[in-house]
Structures are given as structure tokens and as C-alpha cells.
């Protein structure tokens, strides 16, 4: 089998599964649906592995699958670019997707939409693979929107749940705001480069470095800055960066498996991937990079704060995801693209793990998601407990675990960055370490340690299934192997993948030419000088500030939520405004709802009533009709039919004419 066929198999196998489970769901039945989709993704994973080996051997591929459209010289194509960046993404996507597929068998066991769910997640896998494998902007946009569509369908999977169908519309529209910038960026690329093909655009990019574009008179902008910022706005939507972050927490209304797959591990990292892929463009504009770094720093820190006050287990993890995406974005801004992608990978494993573990807890809690009504689950759910601990430790950057290597390197990279905004960003990511440790272990302690509080729980299920009430009162028990198996399978890379891959990925030649860094941004080079192997880095960690910040965060969480639960409550009382500010997520939802949702409707209503109905129809259209009617009524009065009226009118006319002529003479 030649490589091109293999490349095609990677996305098409999940697509096939999605079609079978989606269109013939009734025919193949529940087990048929999960067998065919899991087989599709498994085939895709194996093929991705083979492709990855081929890439490791130094082979890359850039070719067309078919010509989508051609206008003379200008052609739009569907094609693949397979290099080390793609290869890594393909593995991450297919592996996490496979785990989530298996997990779904357990999680969605009683759901009537079983086949539909499998169809959607396989369709998602296809779309995501098309996105990462693309060799041009058109297909990138295709994948970009397709993953958005599946995300929309999956957030609203329980379509009778009012909060879910509100959340999915919100997610789609906020993403569209990002896409608005994205498509304009793509438009500028085509307008100036004359093609949408990555390789050609990247090759020509340096010659456009000093070009300017006039957006308004007398204020030329650097072309690459404008393109960079516009493309990044797309990433802000998809990767939920401030201020387009508002959709991600609400997306938790969807079933937990997709929170893990789409809203933690893969789709939301598409923006990060995209910027890394476009490194030859972003490297040309320090302004765009600074913009990226600022946005990332704000997201990393301020979204982390919100995780502290959340009581919904999934929302804590969601804010954690937002914050971690902010870390990746900061790394992009620092020109440490490989570090961002490295964190993307480690995060995909441990965050998918944390979400799936949260889902396992949710199953055991009969779909009560409130961590105030959990506690002490450690002894009932050993596998979920231990894997959650691994995920949390990886997340906060415990030395030798995967998250440590990626996050530590991001912090170092920001420290070394020469961008003017790097100092502020450095403090943001540093404080973020403490915040991350605090909220992660607040959740961990509340769920797995301390008093058992699940019997006091109110039966407030998140999911519309009926089965949460009748089980209440029993002791929680470990979930079946289809749930715990994926947890264990994800725990392994969460532990070891950082240690194993940091050297080749960041300081070796793994990425090669897939990522370009300009000579004037020598961050990676400087990092390399401080790097003396993964083991040394782990040992050295105890002398660094982030390590002790993380320890402090865990310690404070333990003190607050195991020893003295009265203190957090007292603090919330004492600093009411601050607490409200965080609880209400800085009031962004309210602001957007007022300004955009209500504002647009008010504007639309005004244009309709005043513009269409009063002015155009009222004044011009019907006004013309009325005018004609009035004139004709007036004229009709003259046509009275009486001879003496006409004779009188004639007399007056003659008199008037004679007078006029007389005056002329």
C-alpha cells in the first residue's frame, strides 16, 4: 500500500463509521454503531501510527487529493501536508478519540441517542483530521467550520434541555465571530499572495515582510501584522481565548465524553495548531506576536481565577482548560511554537483524562455534578481516584510528569522572550501556576477526600435521563471497565510522555522545517542552552519558583478544604464583591447578552419598523399609491359632467388668457 492511500484512510475510516452509524443507525443497532465507529477510529489510529513512523524516517508529503474548484490559474484544492507537526497531531487526535469512543460505550449506555452520538464523534474525528492534515487555507477553513458544526451538534445533543440548546447556539455564534476575522485573514492572504497553498504562501511570505496595507487614510499598517491578527482572531474563537472565551464553559452542557474530546483535547487546540502551522507568517510581525502573548496571558491568569469558585466538577475542569489554552497561546507569542504544541500534546492526554475521570465520578454520583455533594470517593472508586490524581499532578506541573515539562518550558520561554509585553505575561503565567494548583486540588480534595457528603445531595442531575433519582442512597461504586480502561490508557502518557519526548520535540530535530522561527526570536535557542536532559530538568525543578508556587497552591487547598472549610466561606463573605465578580465570570455573559444579543435585535427591529415599514413601504410604496389616489380624486372632481361647470371653467380660462396677453402687450 502506498503512502497516499494510507493518508486517505486516516480521515476516511472515521467518516465511514460516522456515515454508517448516522444514516443506518437503526439498521446496525447500538452495538453495530459502536463497533463500526470504534473500528473506524482504530484503523485511523493504526494508519496514523504508520504515517508517524514514516514521518520520523524523514519523509514528508505535500500533495493534492482533488481540485475543489479552478478558475483559470487560480485553483482551490483539497490536499494533505504530512510532516512532523501533522504526524503528531494525527496521533493525538486518533488516540484520544479512540479512548473517548470506548469510554462512550459506558457513559452513554442508557441514552436513546446512542447511535447518533457515535456518528457525531466519528464525524468530529474526520473533520479534525482534515483540519490538521490540510495543505491549504481553504481546507483548513473547511475543517475549522466542520469541527464547529459537530461541536454545535454535540453540545446540543440533549436537545430538549434548554441550557444545552442555548449553549450550542452561543458556542456557534461566538465561534463565528472568530471565523469572521479568520476569513478576512484568509482573504488578505489570497489577495496578496495569489494562492491559498501553504507551501507557496510560506515561501513568499518573507518578501511581504515590509509591505503595508492602508485600512484608513494616512495610517498604513504592516500587512503581516494585519493578516496575523485576523488569523489569530479565528484562533481566539476556536481556542476560546479572551474575550471570545465565553462559549467554552457553557459547552459543558454537552455529554462528558465530548467535553474531553472536543472541548479539552482536540478541537479547542485547533487555534494553537493553526498558529504553529503558520509560524512563517506570524514570525514576520512582532506586533501580532505581542497581541497573541497578551491575549494568552490574560486568558491563562483570569480564567484560572474563575476555576476557584466553581462548584460544578466539569466547569472547574473547563476553566482549567481555558487557562491552559492561555498558556499555549502565550508560548506562541514567545515564538516558542514547538513548546506550545508540546503543551498541546501533554494537555490533550491529562485533560482528556481529567474530564473522563470527572465523567466517571458523575456516573457514580448519578449525574450530580456538584462537588460540594461529593467527598471521600477515594475508597469507592480506586481507579478513578488514582487516575484523577495523576491527571491533577500532571496539570499542576509536578516534576517528571508530562505537564511539568511543557508548562515549565513555557514559563522559561516567556521569561526569555524579548517582546515588550513579555514581563507582564511572565508574571501572569507564574501566578497562574499557583492558581492552577489551588483550584485543581480544591476539586480533588472535595471529590475524593474528606467527609462523604453525597447523601446530602439534592437530586439535581445535569442530564435528562430518568435514572438518577431511584439509585440515590446507595454507596457509589467503581465504573465498568469501558470507562476505567480509557482512564488507565490516558494516565500512562500523562505520566511519561513529557519525560520521553521533550528532548526530541523541543531541542532535537523532530519538527525540523515544519515550524519556522526567525533568527531575531532566539528563545528556543536560549532555552536549549539551559537544557541538560529531561532528568536533570526534573531534579532542578525543586529550586525553581513555579515548583514552590504549585506546592503552596496544593498546601493551601488542603488546608482550606480538608482542615478548615470555614475559612473559604469566611473569605467569600469578607470579600463579597470579589467573590461575586468571580462567580459571575466578570459579568461577560451579561455584557455580551446586553450589547450584542439584545442590541442586534433592537437594531434589527428598528431597521425593520422604521426603515422597511415606515419609510420604504409607508412613505414611498404605499405613499405613492395614496398620492395617485388623492390626485385622481382631485382630478375626478373636475369631471362633474355638468355643462355649466365646463362652460364656467372655459370662461375663466378665456378671461385668464386674455388678461395674460393684455399684460404682455
Amino acid at each position: 500500500m502506498d503512502m497516499q492511500t494510507l493518508y486517505l484512510i486516516v480521515p476516511l475510516a472515521p467518516l465511514f463509521g460516522a456515515i454508517v452509524a448516522g444514516l443506518f443507525g437503526r439498521l446496525v443497532g447500538r452495538s453495530g454503531a459502536h463497533v463500526v465507529t470504534i473500528a473506524g477510529v482504530a484503523v485511523s489510529l493504526i494508519a496514523s501510527w504508520l504515517v508517524f513512523q514514516d514521518v520520523r524516517a524523514g519523509n514528508t508529503y505535500n500533495g493534492t487529493v482533488y481540485t475543489w474548484m479552478a478558475l483559470g490559474d487560480l485553483s482551490f484544492e483539497v490536499g494533505f501536508l504530512i510532516d512532523s507537526l501533522t504526524g503528531m497531531m494525527m496521533l493525538v487526535v486518533t488516540f484520544v478519540s479512540l479512548m473517548v469512543h470506548i469510554y462512550t460505550i459506558g457513559y452513554m449506555h442508557d441514552d436513546p441517542g446512542y447511535q447518533r452520538f457515535f456518528s457525531y464523534i466519528s464525524l468530529f474525528t474526520f473533520s479534525m483530521l482534515m483540519l490538521v492534515m490540510s495543505n491549504n487555507f481553504l481546507q483548513l477553513f473547511f475543517g475549522w467550520e466542520a469541527v464547529g458544526l459537530v461541536s454545535y451538534l454535540l453540545i446540543g445533543f440533549w436537545y430538549t434541555k434548554e441550557t444545552a440548546i442555548y449553549a450550542n447556539l452561543k458556542a456557534f455564534l461566538v465561534n463565528r465571530v472568530g471565523d469572521f476575522g479568520f476569513i478576512l485573514g484568509i482573504g488578505l492572504v489570497l489577495a496578496h499572495f495569489g494562492t491559498l497553498d501553504y507551501a507557496t504562501v510560506f515561501a513568499r511570505a518573507p518578501s511581504f515582510a515590509n509591505d503595508t496595507i492602508v485600512l484608513w487614510p494616512d495610517a498604513p499598517w504592516s500587512l503581516m501584522t494585519v493578516i496575523g491578527i485576523l488569523l489569530f482572531i479565528g484562533a481566539m474563537g476556536k481556542s476560546a481565548q479572551f474575550p471570545l472565551h465565553v462559549w467554552l464553559p457553557d459547552s459543558m452542557e454537552g455529554p462528558t465524553p465530548i467535553s474531553a474530546l472536543i472541548h479539552a483535547a482536540t478541537m479547542v487546540t485547533a487555534g494553537i495548531f493553526m498558529v504553529a502551522r503558520m509560524s512563517p507568517l506570524f514570525e514576520l510581525s512582532d506586533v501580532a506576536l505581542s497581541f497573541i502573548m497578551v491575549i494568552g496571558a490574560i486568558t491563562a491568569l483570569f480564567m484560572g481565577f474563575l476555576g476557584i469558585v466553581q462548584n460544578d466538577i466539569k466547569r472547574v475542569v473547563a476553566y482549567s482548560t481555558l487557562s491552559q489554552l492561555g498558556y499555549m497561546t502565550v508560548a506562541l507569542g514567545a515564538s516558542a511554537y514547538s513548546v506550545a504544541v508540546f503543551h498541546l500534546m501533554t494537555h490533550a492526554f491529562f485533560k482528556a483524562l481529567l474530564f473522563l475521570a470527572a465523567g466517571s465520578v458523575i456516573i457514580a454520583m448519578h449525574h450530580n455534578q456538584d462537588i460540594r455533594y461529593m467527598g471521600g470517593l477515594k475508597k469507592y472508586m480506586p481507579i478513578t481516584w488514582i487516575t484523577s490524581l495523576v491527571g491533577s499532578l500532571a496539570l499542576i506541573g509536578t516534576p517528571f510528569l508530562s505537564g511539568f515539562y511543557s508548562k515549565e518550558t513555557i514559563i522559561e520561554a516567556v521569561k526569555l522572550s524579548h517582546l515588550p509585553v513579555a514581563d507582564v505575561a511572565y508574571w501572569a503565567v507564574l501566578i497562574g501556576v499557583f492558581v492552577t494548583a489551588f483550584y485543581s486540588f480544591r476539586m480533588y480534595f472535595l471529590v475524593f477526600h474528606g467527609k462523604e457528603r453525597f447523601h446530602q445531595g439534592h437530586a439535581h442531575g445535569n442530564e435528562p435521563d430518568a435514572h438518577h433519582v431511584e439509585h440515590h442512597g446507595g454507596t457509589p461504586h467503581e465504573t465498568p471497565w469501558v470507562v476505567t480502561g480509557p482512564l488507565l490508557a490516558l494516565a500512562l502518557p500523562s505520566l511519561a510522555i513529557g519525560y520521553m519526548t521533550i528532548e526530541p520535540m523541543l531541542f532535537g530535530d523532530y519538527f525540523g522545517s515544519a515550524i519556522y522561527v526567525a533568527d531575531r526570536h532566539p528563545v528556543m535557542h536560549e532555552l536549549n542552552q539551559h537544557f541538560h536532559g529531561a532528568a536533570a530538568m526534573g531534579l532542578h525543578a525543586v529550586t525553581t519558583l513555579p515548583f514552590w508556587l504549585a506546592v503552596a497552591g496544593v498546601g493551601l487547598a488542603a488546608f482550606f478544604y480538608l482542615k478548615r472549610p470555614d475559612i473559604p466561606a469566611a473569605i467569600a463573605q469578607r470579600f463579597r464583591f470579589l467573590h461575586q465578580l468571580l462567580l459571575n465570570k466578570y459579568w461577560f455573559d451579561e455584557l455580551y447578552s446586553w450589547v450584542f444579543a439584545k442590541g442586534a435585535r433592537l437594531l434589527g427591529a428598528t431597521l425593520w419598523r422604521r426603515g422597511d415599514q415606515n419609510v420604504i413601504d409607508g412613505f414611498f410604496v404605499n405613499g405613492t399609491a395614496h398620492l395617485v389616489e388623492r390626485v385622481s380624486r382631485l382630478v375626478k372632481a373636475f369631471q362633474s359632467g355638468y355643462i355649466y361647470h365646463y362652460a364656467f371653467a372655459m370662461l375663466i380660462g378665456v378671461f385668464a388668457l386674455v388678461t395674460w396677453f393684455a399684460r404682455l402687450n
Partner: protein, 494 residues
């Protein structure tokens, strides 16, 4: 045997079939009328197929040309021909006619023969509009097609149908009368010819071009419809029966846009360049203003009607970018809008047939009762929101890219459709389809039947096929569009 007169067949087969349907008389023979209508529509579509299979994509010259003297005294000819611009539109029209006949199969129980005949005759007349190469012939078809449509709205329409039918008729008639004046002027300027291709090379001064520009703009702008002469469309849609809305949105609007390419751009190139800012401004207003207006509509048909206006704004915007990407984007948008708006009006028809309401608030939770329908409706809603891999994406994408090249801010305003289009379409979808059933009558709604699945399924295939592989469409158009643009680039000032 008919190889030389395919275009005549394409025009006259539906018209004669329509006459045959009329001959079945009263509703006692309704079944016969339906079957003759279906046979006529299918035959009309079949005779159009050679236009595709025999089409030469390498030339911009008119193909399948027929020419015969009609009124020799004024040099008027029965002159037909198609190029890459008009051929796809004829196919679209013949195709939609078949769907419309099937869609009215059970719904229309009153004056069946007349209803079916009106659609068939209109279909033939519209094919005539797209095929005519003689100004007077064009004018006759252009005006003639209004009559069946007027009757469809006025006879089978809703409670306020008379107001809507009058408004529609007067609006469009007003525009086309001035066009007739321009045509007569062109006749004299061209040395006594009504040949449209001769007019393409006729030298014209700037004043004459400007005046004619506005007269044609009014004639075609009303049909498109462009802001601010659009207010007839929502009224006509709301009152029209489902089939009428489908043809109105899918085909009639395209006649207006087609006029831009056949008359305004090639006959008046200097005025077109000079006044392009005016058309661009109106188009952008259509996208943004109408998008916002669509957001607040409570009536689904009105919402889709406004959405049509916004989408047609992309067509006129694309034409006046004066680039192959923009013009072909506009054309692709026309075809795509033909599929998508037809599908959406059919979807609303499916719901209306069951609940007899078009108000969004009367629905909710439809997916619980009609899952198959909900899936189709989702696809078409996404196509309306311009999602990639559906046809709705292709044209908008091309026009936005073309606009970026001309002026960033044109693209900026045009791209708001990404947000607005999704907002009004999906918000409507959410309120109609998702959620719990609140109206007890929705509880009784049955899912789509085989006939409805057939119609929606065929359109779904079209929408997806065009979204995944638009190359065949642009291949047909490309040479003709490039030739047209080369023509428009040359000044015709004396």
C-alpha cells in the same frame, strides 16, 4: 431530429404541457392533471439535459443557437442561445419545476390543473428569459413570466394575497417599463437592431450610459431584489403557496441577477465602473441591514425571504468586483441559493401543511416528533448559514475573497453574514426544532412522508455535491465570465 432546436424544446415543452394540463379542465380530473404536469415537468428537464452533455466549456460563444425572423419590420428575431452564464440557470429552473410539481401533489386540492399549468408555463417562459438573445424576445418573456406568478400568489395565496400580488406586480412592472425605453434607445443607437450581442458592441456616451444604467438597475434591481426596492418580496413570500415561494426565491430572483450580466455590465461598461460604488453600497446594505432585519422576524417565511435578500446581496456584490472570482462567486451563489432557498421554503411548507402556521412561536420541540425532518432542516439551515461542504459556503467564500482584494472594508461588511446568517438561521432553528414540545398540536405532527423525503433528499444531494465539488459549475462558467469581464474592461465611449 431535435438536435438543432434544443432551446426551443426547453422553452415550449413546459408551456405546451401546461396548456395540456389546462385542457383537463375542472378538479374532477385533478389526478390526470397532476400526472400530465409531472410528465411535462420531467420531459422539460430531460430535454434540457443535452445542454449540459453537449456543452463546450472551452468557448465563450453562444451555443445551441437558433435564429429566425420574427417581426421583420423592426428587425426583431426569434434568437436563442446559451453560454456558461445562462445554461446552468436553465437547468436549475427545469429542475426546480419538477420539484415544485411534486411538492404541490397533495397540498393543492383546489383548481389543480390551473395551478400546475401556471408553474409549467412559467417555467417555459423563464427558460425563454435565460435563452433569449433578442431584446424584444427577452422583454416578452421577462414580462410574460410575471403573469403566472401573479396568478399563483393572487389565487392560491394567503389571506392578504391581493395586496401582495398587486404590490409585486406593480413593483416589477414599474421597473421594466423604463427598461423598455432603454431598449428602444439602444435599437436606434445600434442602427436598428434588437440583437443583444450587437448591443454589447454599441458605442454609447456617458450620459446615455448613466441614464440607461439606472433604468436597467431599477428593472433588475427590483427583481433581485436589492435594497431599498425589496419590500415586495417578504409580502409576496408570506402570501404565496409553498410552490410559489420556491419558484420565486429559487428562480425569479435569479432573473434579475442574470440581467446584470447580460445587459448592465456588457452594454454599459463605463457606467458600470463609474457607478460600481453605488451597487456595492446597496449590496452591502442588503447583507448587513437585511441580516439584522431577518433576526427579528417572527414569521418563518418572512425570515427566509429577508435571508434571500441578504444572500442575493452577495450576488450583486460579486458581479461588481469585476474579477472572475467575484463574478463566478455571484453565479455560484445564485445556483446555490436556488437549492437552499427552495429547500428551506419546502421545509416551511412541510411544517405549514401540518400545523397551518408559519409563526416561530407556534412551534418548538419538532425534533421529538419529526427527527428525519429535523435532520434535513438542519442541513439546509447550515447551508443557509454558509457552512463549508454545503453549497451555501462556496459563493459567499468566493465573493468575500474577491472583495478583500478590491477593498478590505467591503469584505469586512460582507463577512458579517458569517455571524448574522448563522444568528438568524440557527436561532430560528433552535426555537422551532429544539426544546420540549409546548404546543399540543405539535404533538400530533407526523414525520415526513416518502414524497417529502424524495424532494428534500434530492435537494440535500445537490447542496452537498455542490459544496464538496463545485468545480463542474465553475468550469462551465469560467470561459464565459472571463470573456464578459474582458468585454467590461473595454470602454465604449465614442
Amino acid at each position: 431530429m431535435f438536435g438543432q432546436s434544443i432551446l426551443s424544446l426547453v422553452i415550449w415543452v413546459p408551456i405546451l404541457a401546461g396548456v395540456a394540463v389546462l385542457a383537463t379542465g375542472s378538479d374532477r380530473n385533478a389526478a390526470l392533471a397532476r400526472w400530465i404536469a409531472l410528465a411535462g415537468a420531467l420531459l422539460g428537464f430531460i430535454v434540457a439535459i443535452p445542454l449540459v452533455t453537449g456543452f463546450d466549456t472551452s468557448t465563450s460563444a453562444m451555443q445551441f443557437v437558433e435564429k429566425a425572423a420574427w417581426i421583420p419590420a423592426f428587425n426583431v428575431h426569434y434568437h436563442l442561445g446559451v453560454d456558461g452564464i445562462s445554461m446552468p440557470l436553465i437547468l436549475l429552473n427545469s429542475f426546480i419545476t419538477v420539484l415544485v410539481v411534486i411538492a404541490g401533489w397533495q397540498v393543492i386540492q383546489d383548481k389543480v390543473a390551473q395551478y400546475m399549468a401556471a408553474f409549467l408555463i412559467m417555467s417555459g417562459l423563464i427558460n425563454g428569459v435565460f435563452a433569449a438573445l433578442d431584446g424584444i424576445l427577452f422583454y416578452v418573456f421577462f414580462e410574460g413570466m410575471l403573469i403566472p406568478l401573479y396568478l399563483i400568489v393572487g389565487v392560491w395565496g394567503g389571506p392578504n394575497r391581493v395586496y401582495a400580488a398587486f404590490k409585486f406586480f406593480l413593483y416589477t412592472l414599474l421597473g421594466s417599463l423604463l427598461m423598455l425605453v432603454s431598449m428602444v434607445y439602444l435599437y436606434f443607437q445600434s442602427g436598428g437592431s434588437f440583437d443583444i450581442q450587437t448591443w454589447h458592441t454599441t458605442t454609447l456616451g456617458m450620459t446615455a450610459q448613466t441614464l440607461m444604467f439606472f433604468s436597467f438597475l431599477l428593472a433588475f434591481g427590483v427583481k433581485v431584489p436589492m435594497w431599498p426596492v425589496h419590500t415586495w418580496l417578504p409580502d409576496a413570500h408570506v402570501e404565496a403557496p409553498t410552490g410559489g415561494s420556491v419558484v420565486l426565491a429559487a428562480i425569479t430572483l435569479k432573473v434579475g441577477a442574470y440581467g446584470f450580466l447580460r445587459f448592465i455590465l456588457p452594454i454599459l461598461p463605463d457606467a458600470s465602473h463609474e457607478l460600481s460604488w453605488f451597487v456595492i453600497a446597496l449590496s452591502l446594505i442588503a447583507v448587513a441591514y437585511i441580516g439584522l432585519v431577518a433576526l427579528v422576524q417572527a414569521d418563518m417565511k418572512k425570515l427566509i425571504a429577508y435571508s434571500s435578500i441578504a444572500h442575493m446581496g452577495f450576488v450583486t456584490l460579486g458581479f461588481f468586483m469585476f474579477s472572475p472570482l467575484g463574478a463566478e462567486g455571484g453565479l455560484v451563489q445564485m445556483i446555490s441559493h436556488g437549492f437552499v432557498s427552495a429547500a428551506l421554503f419546502l421545509c416551511i411548507g412541510v411544517m405549514y401543511d401540518r400545523l397551518h402556521s408559519r409563526q416561530i412561536k407556534d412551534y418548538g420541540g419538532l425534533v421529538n416528533k419529526m427527527p428525519v425532518f429535523a435532520a434535513f432542516f438542519m442541513l439546509f439551515a447550515m447551508a443557509n448559514a454558509g457552512l463549508p461542504a454545503t453549497s451555501g459556503f462556496v459563493g459567499e467564500f468566493m465573493v468575500i475573497l474577491a472583495a478583500t482584494k478590491v477593498n478590505f472594508w467591503f469584505a469586512f461588511v460582507a463577512a458579517t453574514t458569517l455571524i448574522l446568517g448563522a444568528a438568524y438561521t440557527l436561532w430560528m432553528y433552535k426555537r422551532v426544532v429544539f426544546g420540549n414540545v409546548t404546543n399540543p398540536h405539535v404533538e400530533e405532527m407526523r414525520d415526513v412522508n416518502a414524497r417529502e423525503i424524495l424532494i428534500l433528499g434530492v435537494l440535500a444531494v445537490c447542496v452537498l455535491a455542490m459544496g464538496l465539488y463545485p468545480k463542474p459549475f465553475t468550469d462551465v462558467m469560467h470561459v464565459s465570465v472571463v470573456d464578459l469581464l474582458a468585454h467590461v474592461a473595454q470602454s465604449k465611449l465614442p
